[in-house]
């Protein structure tokens, strides 16, 4: 009786350890997917059209979305752009774009030096697994962008 109880305890411990390890592996894989900030992904057409040929810089924009959502109808999204938000240097406009939604446009936010920081939180709709893009335009006409991959298990069905 005593021995079997110990064996059971060891078994449970091992199962938990292995399971936890797998979870960690999964999580690190997901975050690796999400934190890419390089330009090796194709930039959506809508973003290029907005930039009108001006260079798109990767960085300065922190886009926070859950890496995996069960339901694409309401996805909490927060965007923070590194900017002093002074009269001389501030973010004027911040846009969110979707790669595969029927319409690539999500929202355009008009900011300015009256705000203490360039940060917006909202809830968006995602039709399928895709990357969401956040692009900021400063008063100097620079474009800063970032994207975040989101896996959607139940799409916000467009049809």
């Amino acid at each position: 009786m005593g021995i079997s109880r110990v064996q059971r305890r060891v078994f449970v411990k091992n199962v938990l350890a292995v399971g936890g390890g797998l979870c960690l592996l999964g999580a690190s894989r997901l975050s690796a997917l999400g934190s890419q900030a390089t330009s090796n992904r194709e930039v959506p057409k809508a973003v290029l059209e907005w930039a009108e040929g001006r260079p798109l810089n990767f960085g300065r924009v922190q886009l926070v979305l859950p890496p995996l959502v069960e339901n694409g109808f309401l996805v909490r999204t927060s965007v923070l752009v590194e900017s002093p938000m002074t009269e001389a240097d501030h973010v004027q406009e911040l846009r969110l774009f979707s790669e595969v939604n029927p319409s690539p446009f999500i929202a355009n936010f008009y900011l300015g030096p009256q705000l203490p920081e360039a940060r917006v939180e909202t809830r968006i709709r995602l039709a399928d697994t895709q990357a969401v893009w956040a692009v900021a335009r400063t008063n100097k006409g620079e474009f800063w962008c970032s994207y975040q991959q989101v896996i959607v298990t139940l799409a916000a069905c467009a049809g």
Partner: protein
């Protein structure tokens, strides 16, 4: 609440707040944000019914503006930071299809030390 002319809208922030503090302004409106891409069971397209624009003013001065597109979720919620400098009136306005306009006002007071 289900009245299409005046949907329920909420403007929320900390008040009274201390001078110099950064507070969060949260604006939410009840609205289906019908994208115009969905179809009925018969295959007919459901007409778009969207909130198109959101403006927030403080003492009449524009603080924040947004154009909303079909990618926004239903009951659009927008949260942004605001630096408290003086007391006044915060006013949020939503403009949408079918002649929708909705304005919500709330007073911001300064916390006396």
């Amino acid at each position: 609440m289900s009245d299409p002319v005046a949907p329920r809208a909420v403007l929320q922030f900390q008040s009274p707040a201390s001078k110099g503090a950064v507070i969060e302004i949260l604006a939410v409106i009840r609205h289906p944000m019908e994208s115009g891409f969905r179809r009925t069971e018969r295959g007919e397209l459901i007409a778009a019914n969207l909130i198109r624009q959101f403006v927030c003013r403080f003492n009449g001065k524009e603080m924040f503006r947004a154009d909303l597109h079909p990618g926004m979720g239903a009951d659009p919620s927008i949260c942004f930071p605001f630096r408290v400098e003086q007391p006044g009136e915060m006013e949020c306005e939503w403009l949408g299809d079918q002649g929708l306009t909705r304005t919500v006002k709330r007073t911001l007071t300064i916390l006396q030390p």
